[in-house]
């Protein structure tokens, strides 16, 4: 009892006047906060993770939640979190695991960027009355077109590389079966098919029940090679080689054995209940030329019919790395910023390694242009895209499209409690426990995710129209339409934008 018990993180209260003892809170909380004894609900606040499932399910609004009712003595350096990590590690001697994205209080660049609109000198375009084009192609583009003559008509001599056609520049990123439930993946798959966009499998293989959506699914090849065989590669609309992830740059994936149920083990092709720890590097990639070989091998295996993406975490040198990837024959580079979510990552990586996606995209786009190879790859931004304005801003900084992850989960009910690694997600998203998974109805969740993509697409159209732009390619890299508000000069130089008023 050297350390003793630490202050409660959350305190649950039950309004006894309101409570009708229906027991829904007891049923819904997989963490065991509630129990019914006789005519009374008893509460163990210490195990609460603030997932809000009980609050959402209580028919009488009888449950209240208070964050840190008794806090530590305030101190600017020795924050409660720092102290708790020390207690935790003093007890366990282990690396601390965490979920979701970076929780450190870094300034958000997106929130210091403002968009432009037309006034007088040029008219804004009304998307309700004029065409507005968000169609986006992901893949290699020719730098120059060559035309010839055949039977008196002009014909195209340049052969185009395969591209994915997106009706909106919003895709859903790679969240594996294992990290999330099959119901969650099915909901996402149905939503992207309906919206005319794509989703990623993550490194968890492709479950049979997703085959009907395979032409809208990007299959991932990560360092663990989980679930990869020729059948898998051939089914995907595109293939993505995962080198790194924004939430944990420099290390491999972590799927706790608790989440490896029979079905997950079959889809991943790994033993039941085993931790799926993929290696930090790919064991056949120790340099950029090895990457080139893997890109070509995957293309060869799929008869050069599919685009191959390469995903890296946004790190200090990502611009030069992306330039190397552009020369590897890859068709798109995914840059995953340090706010990217995860099912499970060491907290020290999640919070302290990598750079924000805004700066990474700006420098990647600039580097590729300086080297004259911007058309060789599309740029996909991911990690920390929270709303349609973020999409508009990152495209203006140079991205072709975005991957969203956390936002899509939130659309299915996720409350961002950050406890995904426990495998007890009460919303049926980040869990494999059948009774919890059953809580997520794909018929409903797919509509919610589809609605989110649709709503952001509408907002994006409005933002473009207000800026006098009717085609997404005229927003791409159009940094003139961004201004920095209270950003420092160094960042503005990296982003290559002017301050507000200039």
């Amino acid at each position: 009892m050297t350390i003793g018990s630490v202050p409660l993180r959350y305190k649950i209260g039950v309004d006894r006047d309101q409570c009708m003892l229906c027991g829904r809170c007891v049923e819904n909380c997989p963490y065991g906060v509630f129990r019914m004894e006789g005519e009374r609900i008893h509460v163990n606040s210490r195990v609460c993770v603030a997932c809000h499932r009980c609050i959402a399910m209580c028919p009488r609004d009888a449950i209240s939640l208070e964050e840190r009712p008794v806090d530590y003595r305030s101190h600017p350096i020795w924050t409660p979190q720092v102290r708790e990590s020390i207690y935790n590690q003093a007890r366990s001697g282990k690396i601390i695991l965490s979920g979701m994205g970076n929780a450190q209080d870094y300034p958000v660049i997106f929130d210091r960027l403002v968009l432009d609109a037309c006034q007088v000198t040029n008219p804004s375009i009304d998307p309700l009355r004029e065409p507005m084009e968000l169609r986006t192609y992901i893949g290699k583009k020719p730098g120059v077109l060559r035309f010839g003559e055949k039977d008196g008509t002009t014909v195209l001599e340049t052969r185009l590389a395969p591209n994915l056609m997106l009706e909106t520049p919003i895709m859903i990123g790679h969240m594996s079966y294992g990290a999330i439930s099959l119901n969650a993946q099915q909901s996402l798959a149905r939503a992207v098919k309906h919206a005319g966009t794509y989703m990623g499998t993550g490194e968890g293989g492709l479950h049979e029940s997703l085959y009907p959506y395979q032409d809208r699914i990007i299959v991932q090849v990560a360092s663990g090679r989980f679930g990869v065989d020729i059948n898998y590669l051939e089914r995907g609309a595109a293939i993505e080689i995962k080198i790194g992830q924004g939430a944990k740059p420099g290390i491999g994936g972590h799927l706790p054995g608790e989440k490896v149920c029979a079905d997950v083990s079959c889809t991943r092709m790994i033993p039941l209940g085993s931790d799926a720890i993929s290696p930090a590097p790919h064991h056949d990639i120790y340099s950029i030329e090895d990457l080139k070989q893997l890109v070509r091998s995957l293309k060869e295996a799929t008869e050069w019919k599919k685009p191959v993406f390469v995903k890296i975490a946004a790190v200090h040198n990502s611009a030069a790395i992306a330039a190397g990837i552009a020369r590897s024959g890859a068709d798109a580079v995914v840059v995953d910023g340090f706010r990217g979510g995860t099912g499970a990552a060491p907290r020290v990586f999640r919070d302290h390694v990598g750079i924000p996606v805004e700066a990474a995209i700006a420098s990647v786009d600039a580097k590729l242009r300086t080297q004259g190879i911007r058309n060789e790859v599309s740029i996909i931004a991911s990690g920390g895209i929270r709303e349609s304005a973020d999409v508009a801003k990152i495209i203006a900084l140079g991205a072709d499209a975005v991957y969203i992850g956390t936002a899509a989960l939130v659309a299915m009910g996720c409350r961002v409690c950050g406890t995904c690694y426990r495998g007890l997600c009460p919303w049926g998203i980040a869990t494999q426990r059948p009774d919890l998974v059953a809580r997520l109805d794909p018929d409903v969740a797919s509509v919610n995710v589809g609605n989110l993509i649709h709503a952001w697409t509408l907002e994006l159209s409005e933002l473009m129209g207000a800026a006098g732009i009717n085609s997404i390619e005229s927003l791409r890299g159009n940094r003139d339409r961004l201004r920095g508000y209270l950003l420092d000069e160094g960042i503005m130089k990296v982003l290559d934008i002017k301050p507000v008023g200039a």
């Binding site: 040029n122 065409p131 014909v155 195209l156 242009r369 004259g372 006098g468 005229s474």
Partner: protein, 350 residues
């Protein structure tokens, strides 16, 4: 606002500047008296094989020697002269217009397929970015450009454009918002044999600028119009696209239309949009572009700026307003409005 006009004589019969002066003055309502300009092709028949490098100097004793030194590094100055000007009551001469007739040394750009043009382009970018007080505002062969801050008729009289003859004229009457008073900001913009007059605002400027800058162009004029000249130079001269195709890259059909096209056409337009998406020009504009072989007028994809054309004999007229065309050629007959994005092209037959 801004008013634009262009006329081409397809038989290369030369016209003096009287007609375009009165046509442009007819559109004074579209300007603000702070900028006007003219370009004329076929202006220097005796020196037609030399690049006519037009420079605005802020002074002659310090900056002119630096420009001469730069030109001499890359070729030979055959002849140079002050552009004759004639004082006007309300037009203040803030720059000294000068022209050099220049022959570049093609051996200095051994890797280029158009070495002479590339030498000249290099000199233009170098002078405009490194020599303060000197601005090269035209650099084509047999092309003269006249521009200043003032009403169209004042600028015409300042240079006495009625003394020049050519087979293609362009004019522009400016209502400036960005860089009023600066002569460099007036149209036409010229690079090599490309000249552009433009009414509107290019909302995709940032995208277009970043695109052409990755091919070595540098924007120095603080206005969106110059990218049009650079885009045409890149697509037509350096990439070898036919002029119609280049216009279709800058103002392409909507995907809805492309999806309905026959296979072969659809494939071509899809490729154009994929390859040249960053060259697509958005925002309201009407543009007339000329080179040594043709003149083309077109608008943005939803036609947010006016453009009409008419023909009489060998002459094709393109302008913001019917009245301007009729002032120049009362017998022009029918005036037609092209569809949004549709190019109107006049080519020499002689």
């Amino acid at each position: 606002m801004c008013g634009i006009i262009g006329v081409i004589d397809r038989a290369r019969k030369r016209m003096d500047g009287t007609g375009i002066r009165s046509a442009l003055a007819e559109m004074d309502e579209r300007g603000s008296g702070e900028g006007a300009g003219y370009a004329v092709y076929g202006a220097f028949p005796e020196l037609k094989d030399y690049y006519a490098i037009h420079v605005f100097f802020d002074d002659l004793h310090e900056t002119k020697p630096r420009v001469e030194e730069e030109l001499s590094k890359w070729g030979v100055i055959e002849h140079d002269e002050a552009v004759p000007t004639y004082e006007q009551p309300s037009l203040r001469k803030i720059h000294i217009p000068w022209r050099f007739f220049f022959r570049p040394d093609p051996h200095l750009m051994p890797r280029s397929i158009t070495p002479e043009d590339d030498v000249v382009m290099h000199v233009v970018m170098k002078v405009n970015t490194t020599i303060p007080g000197a601005l090269i505002f035209a650099s084509g062969k047999n092309v003269a450009v006249f521009k200043a801050s003032g009403w169209p008729e004042e600028v015409a009289d300042f240079y006495r454009i009625q003394d020049y003859k050519g087979y293609l004229w362009m004019g522009h009457n400016r209502y400036p918002t960005n860089t009023p008073g600066w002569w460099g900001g007036a149209h036409p913009f010229n690079l090599l044999n490309w000249s552009v007059v433009h009414n509107g605002e290019i909302t995709s400027y940032g995208t277009n600028r970043r695109y052409i800058e990755s091919y070595g162009y540098q924007c120095t004029m603080y206005t969106d119009t110059e990218v049009v000249a650079y885009l045409f130079d890149l697509l037509v001269r350096r990439h070898g696209l036919p002029l119609e195709t280049a216009v279709r890259a800058l103002a392409p059909p909507f995907w809805d239309e492309i999806d309905r096209m026959p296979d072969q056409e659809r494939e071509i337009f899809r490729a154009i949009r994929l390859a040249y998406g960053s060259a697509l020009m958005n925002g309201p504009f009407a543009i007339v572009v000329a080179n040594d072989q043709s003149m083309v007028g077109f608008t943005d994809r939803i036609k947010l700026r006016p453009l009409v054309y008419g023909e009489k004999g060998d002459r094709l007229y393109i302008s913001s307003e019917e009245a301007a065309i009729r002032t120049m050629e009362p017998d022009v007959g029918e005036i037609t409005m092209p569809k949004a994005g549709e190019p109107i092209i006049g080519r020499y037959v002689a």
